[in-house]
Symmetry: C3
Subunit: 150 residues, 3 copies
């Protein structure tokens, strides 16, 4: 089963999209690496916003991180083509944290679990999972470095 | 017109500088990639300091991000030579945010617009733009990965 | 003297370890680059936790960053083999900051000084040193990109 079939089985149909938004790229390729822009917790019309640990529960934050991971795959496709991903290399998981909340790994597991489920051993990435201020009050933002096929 | 000529036309004359400060490098090259250190919002004697959204307006923050982008170019030159930049790959834009301020993209547009103006299509980069604590109260810090010529 | 001998002379004996923790890798190699996961301020049973500038002094924060750097070396070894590191390329130093504390460079010097001492000129890295929220109240987290031998 390809990772696209796995994603489809999970209910995620990716679409092709324009990578440049007038300011920056959703992703940039150099050689066999693709760097995505930071992807926020929104899929289509559904957004998860707010501070994790206050407005947003850990479970909802986990779901938000999963959304970000899907968007990272989509972003990689926008520049390297559908089905081009060979491996997940590096994840920077950024959580919009409420004061005192520091279980940022528990949130970013939502992205890691998605990558591991979808890509199997090729999904095994290095990662940091930290708290900061995310644009426009989104709950989570994730940027990813992928290896892509020639 | 080369990007150095474009920069000059904007009033920016870059100088060569020593890349090592005794602790870390302004930039490191490996293959055709250059990783810059985080560059703060200071050009010569002019620094923009303070929390964006409180001490520093959005407009001033935008200008601060632009300064950081100039310093990233300068940092790349310090290790790869003047005029060596082929492309802007990845930008991490870090904003010194006041509580409640989350328009970090609006600030980091100052860096993105500079790169797009100076390098044209080769300036189109992937990016994250987030809020955190910046050293010594500088308003903005930006680190960049560039592609450089052989 | 190899860097392993230097480390040993400083009292650090590295061990081999399993790189995958069920969620993510301690480090991932692609070509001659190794990306580590974020490494926190703990060595064996000794952890440095708390907010730098309040619970944790600058000096203790410096020591925490040094621990993180050791763990980054250990993480690189877990995937590329003992003694494989050729050069330190890029460091992202993340400090668990108390309100008003912004001497994040002074903290991350603990990691930079360790890399420079252990690797000499090959330890000279590009770096950002910023403040944010670190998982489980660790004082410091550092992620590193290393160049490794073929």
């Amino acid at each position: 089963m390809t990772y696209l079939e796995t994603l489809k089985g999970m209910g995620y149909s990716l679409t092709t999209s324009e990578p440049f938004n007038g300011k920056f790229m959703a992703a940039v390729r150099i050689g066999n690496l693709v760097y995505t822009a930071g992807q926020v917790s929104q899929l289509g019309p559904v957004a998860i916003k707010g501070k994790v640990g206050a407005d947003v529960s850990l479970e909802k934050g986990y779901e938000a991180a999963r959304m970000c991971a899907i968007n990272c795959i989509q972003a990689a496709h926008s520049i390297a083509g559908e089905g081009s991903i060979a491996r997940v290399i590096k994840v920077l998981g950024m959580v919009n944290v409420a004061p005192e909340f520091d279980n940022t790994p528990g949130v970013i597991h939502g992205a890691s679990d998605l990558f591991n489920s979808v890509f199997g051993e090729a999904g095994r990435h290095a990662r940091s999972a930290v708290g900061m201020v995310i644009p426009f009050n989104f709950a989570v933002e994730v940027e990813t470095i992928f290896e892509v096929h020639g």
